[in-house]
Symmetry: C5
Subunit: 337 residues, 5 copies
């Protein structure tokens, strides 16, 4: 099951990257400091906040003039992915997914992005295993790269793209589990496998909840209704939209396959039952008549001529063998054995 990570974060870690094609500056701040609004500078400023500490977020919200509801939403970890246009900035909520190998579960974490004219704010819950690191690296090292040339909109695209890319990793893991369970299903359809299929199914329900609203979010960005998204960046968002559709397709396909697995499970249960019943029926059908014959010649009537005859015993044996043979023939004709 998806679990939202709810650690009480002791302190927030703020990283400020300020760059244009030529310049690059980076500052870190363990303690909370008020970031100066970079509105009038020509560079792009990316302020990343790790750890959702209320005070920090509120201060930043104030200094960037965010609506109180946005600050509230950043701190509330149960948001649905959504896009809100406040005119001079966009507020974007996403879900970052990671596969917890130990618990065999998908963990989900909320990421909030604010896109202004020349700045980007990003808020994350957790500190480690950051999917944004490659982007930071690209900004730091590649001077004339696309990300350094283009504006804040492209930075937001890059951040969202790295999140959507991580979904594909999750889907691969899910695919592997499906394949593993399908093999198990054929080899030994135990109740454990059934439980695992159902767990997988519940995860897909939750995964779907994270992914479906994303479609609308990115479609909103791609349509270019906000002037904060330049025409050049729209092509990239359109590309991201296609990726999202692919993720949704995969989730739906997995759901279909998992439903099919449940049906196989029930069918193979039914098959097994049939087999068990056949064994029982064959045994009972063969031995009951034989037992009757033995029972008849175990009766104590005084006048039973067969008992006295010297050929009585062998004939009884013969009768039993013939009856058993006929029964076996009958079952072979019915294709039970």
């Amino acid at each position: 099951m998806l679990k939202s990570l709810k650690k009480t974060t002791g302190s927030a870690k703020i990283t400020v990257l300020d760059y244009d094609e030529q310049q690059f500056q980076e500052r870190k701040a363990e303690v909370v400091e008020e970031p100066s609004p970079p509105r009038d500078r020509p560079t792009v400023t990316w302020i990343n906040v790790d750890g959702l500490q209320p005070e920090t977020v509120e201060k930043i919200g104030e200094s960037f003039g965010l609506h109180p509801l946005v600050v509230e939403a950043i701190l509330n970890r149960d948001q649905r992915p959504k896009l809100e246009d406040f005119g001079d900035y966009l507020y974007i909520v996403l879900k970052m997914l990671s596969y917890d190998d130990k618990a065999n579960e998908i963990a989900t974490e909320q990421v909030s992005l604010i896109l202004g004219s020349n700045y980007v704010l990003s808020f994350q819950e957790e500190r480690e295993g950051d999917v944004f690191n490659p982007i930071r690296e690209r900004i730091r090292s590649e001077k004339a790269s696309r990300i350094r040339k283009m504006g804040a909109d492209y930075l937001v695209y890059s951040l969202m793209d790295s999140i959507v890319d991580s979904y594909f990793t999750i889907l691969e893991k899910v695919g592997e589990r499906i394949e593993f369970l399908e093999e198990e299903l054929v080899a030994k359809p135990t109740p454990t496998v059934l439980q695992a299929i159902h767990d997988l199914r519940r995860e897909m329900i939750s995964l779907r909840k994270s992914v479906w609203p994303l479609r609308e979010v990115i479609s909103g960005l791609e349509r270019g209704e906000s002037k904060l998204i330049g025409e050049e960046a729209q092509v990239y968002f359109r590309n991201l939209y296609d990726h999202t559709i692919q993720v949704i397709d995969s989730v739906e396909t997995s759901r279909d396959i998992i439903s099919g697995m449940l049906e196989i499970y029930l069918s193979s249960m039914s098959n097994k039952m049939n087999e068990v019943m056949k064994v029982l029926t064959i045994i009972a059908t063969i031995f009951m008549p034989l037992t009757l014959i033995a029972g008849i010649y175990g009766m104590n009537f005084r006048y039973m001529p067969e008992l006295e005859a010297p050929w009585g015993y062998p004939i009884a044996w013969a009768a039993m063998l013939i009856v058993a043979g006929l029964m076996l023939l009958y079952f072979r004709r019915k294709k039970w054995i």
Copy 2:
């Protein structure tokens, strides 16, 4: 199952709150009195009516110039959540839900709201456990608070928000019951659990009926088609819309999970049957041949050489043990034991 509370209300209780940023006035009235239409005053007037007494409602309707159909609808407790725009006032119907812990049921109650230019009328069925109390408290005590600064539209938002918030409480209770039943399902899948799952399923059907139309209601308010909803308030209604979508998402997810539980139930029934059948088959398959052997040597033929032989009895025992052993081997190879 959802039950609409249909007490015959002896008398209605009217509470009038009249406030702006600076002033605040509160009046209560156990007996029915005609509230003066507050149209020309600059303050916001909130008239809350507890108990749907026909005469009271009709009098208020008359003095506020409500359409006769609105008065009818307020008194009829089986309305669907809806929004109707009558030009100079909006009529909103909502369902307030509360969890009846004793009956393990969700109780539903109808709330009608009328939003005029500077007044709000609210009509409720029941008197106790009011979710509006915190709002009243905020108006009373916090002089320069947002609710005191903003208009009647924000007051309606606050009332609706407190109702939608109460849905989350219900959903948490439902979530707890689902978890409890899932554990029961694994521990002992009795018919009682099946009944409980079905009860839950019916409740979700009814809950869905209360929540789905809400989406349209709030979306109607948020789109700002009525001039009674100011631009500033629209952001809040948009936020409320997101909450409603989250509630709907949760209801749908719960429905999916409950369907899955029914499938687990049936699968585990099938598993159990299989197990029972295996025990029967193993027992029958082992004991029937042995009984036949015993039966054969219980026959009373005069000429049965084995009976006279001193090693006859031990050999019979040996034969029985060998047959039983072979059967057990066969079942082990089939992985039944």
Copy 3:
């Protein structure tokens, strides 16, 4: 199952009501007479025709200038509810439902309405148990009532409203049957109950067919695209629309509940089978080993030392009791008994 009543109607009964706020006139006509087109008079004329006699309908159609296809449609009893706008008149088809208590079935009857600028034509199949009677009464007796003040559009609304109201009665009956069947399902899930559930399900399929298209019909009227529906009447049609949505909601909810009942039925069948199998398995598992012990000491070998021993018989009994006890313990541990 829904059955359309197809009596060969001997003669049609025409009732003409002509009224405005002050005046009121009523004429009945057992024999067919040509009603004079009331177009130029300021009063509202309601001509109700009971019994779909082709000649009568055709004559009326001619004198009111109805399109030949409309006349055809009035006489054809298998129309779907629909609304057609012919410019100077609207053609509306509805289904009137009544519960046949004897057959425990829903009977359906077609009603056609023609709304002109100041006249209404209504065509019904049957003569008795008319839901339009209260409206007639209201027109006759209440001089300054709303229906007398407003125009032909309000009359059509009143007629449609009385039909939609009758659906609620049907739904209540259906609700009662569902509750009865649910109790039966718990008490004794016989094949009869299964049959009753399936009958109910088929009725819901047909009921749905009568109700769903109604939504579109009334939504067409409510949107006010025709100038025959005045602005004042639109509010009433909007109200009717809400009622229709409520009916549809109820039908869908009933369908969901009925599906759930089928699942309960199958689950309880499965439960019962499990119980039966357990009884069989317990009996067989206890008695088969005992029978084998008895069989062994019924063998006729000459040298069986146990048979000669004085403690042989009691020991055999003891062995049997111990085996039976162990088996019972095993079943208790498995929670079968």
Copy 4:
């Protein structure tokens, strides 16, 4: 299953009807001759081609200036019902259905219609059992009839109407088979009935495929986007549209009912199994203890005091009867017998 009739047609049969309100001309042509384009004459020309001979169709296509893709589509018998607007002519594809009583199957045949300003071309696969005959008859005999007065658009309506009418006949046959199978289902639910239900289900899948696209086709004609459909004819196409919706409704209802029948089948299978199991369990539960008692007193221990007692045998009988009686009581209490 639906089978498209694919005879290699030896030769095509061309029938030309040329008429207006006053005049009427009819020509038949077994051999292929080039029909003169009737564009400049004021009469309506209907050229009907029976048998899809490529050369004939191509020649006609050329002389009427049809697009090569249209000629291809007429000859290809696996088209979906569709409407294509080529400006000065409309191309319509329909499916004609007929019930093959011998094979108990629905046979499907493609009909292509071309509507020009004053001509109609119709192409059919088969020659016999033509549903167009009544229309021909009406044109021939009724001088001042509606079909003679109105234009080519009304002729196309008439042709399509006769095809849609034939669907109702098919649906009646399907209805009869459903009723027959429902009775069989109650009387004796054999695998043959199951097979018949599944065959019916597959036919409904195919029927649906023929009928659903028709909705779009006729809706396209009714909306009056092409100037080839006059305003007067639109009313008729709207009427045809309603018929199509009715057909679709019936198909969907039948599908629902057939699904329900499968559920009844499975439920009654489960019922039967339950009954069989009960018989087995009752028999085993009664006779196993009795057999044990008999077995015990068949043991050959020397010291068995009961055997010597004169009341031993009657007591044994009594014991057996008491055990049997108790078992029967137990089953009666469980309501199994």
Copy 5:
């Protein structure tokens, strides 16, 4: 299951066709060479690239001014079918399907098409079994053919048409497998057949994924929003659209039929179980009472008058035959035998 062919392609093979109605030129190039952009020439240039070698594709992308994301997408083989309009060129992704007879699987391969004003680029994964060969042949040999007369848009249509046509071949193969499995299902419903049905079902899920997005792609081309698609070519794309709808229809129908097959499988399992249970019950019910009779007269009580009687033994036989006969009668009345 659909498998995307992921060979590491050693080298790409480039084929350049340059033609108009009169001229025709063809060049092949095993080694990578930079194709000169044919923008200013009046002829149509078709450059086909077999084998997705990154360097080759990148070079071509550069020289034709393709967006970097397009080059990326061409090389990424997991694209969904899509259409992207970059103003002066269209980017189209398709899936080419082929049936792998050995593995009884559908293999899928990505095809990318770029349509410029007078050139077409096509990129394929594999080299052999090319469905484009007939088109090449037509361009080479038929001087005044439609393909030589019309522009680059018609060439793209031809390429897409040949791909969609290949889908019909796949669907026929699927149809054959369905028919084969349906016969197997009736003849012997083994778990192997169940597995085959499920494999088929999974293939249909994947096939659907390839086909559904195609609808949108071709609908986008057909609507003529891009000026790169001439009016004349639009008719052809509309035709292609109809074919795509037909493919989708077939896929959906197959899915429905496959679901039905699973139901038949489960029903016939249930039937078989019933039959097995009946055999068991009949045998047990007949032989248990007989064995009891034999057991009773095998008891060793001293005083059993029947044992001494001369008619005792025949009477016992008679009793057994009567009991057996009554049981058989009972089963015949129950229609079990």
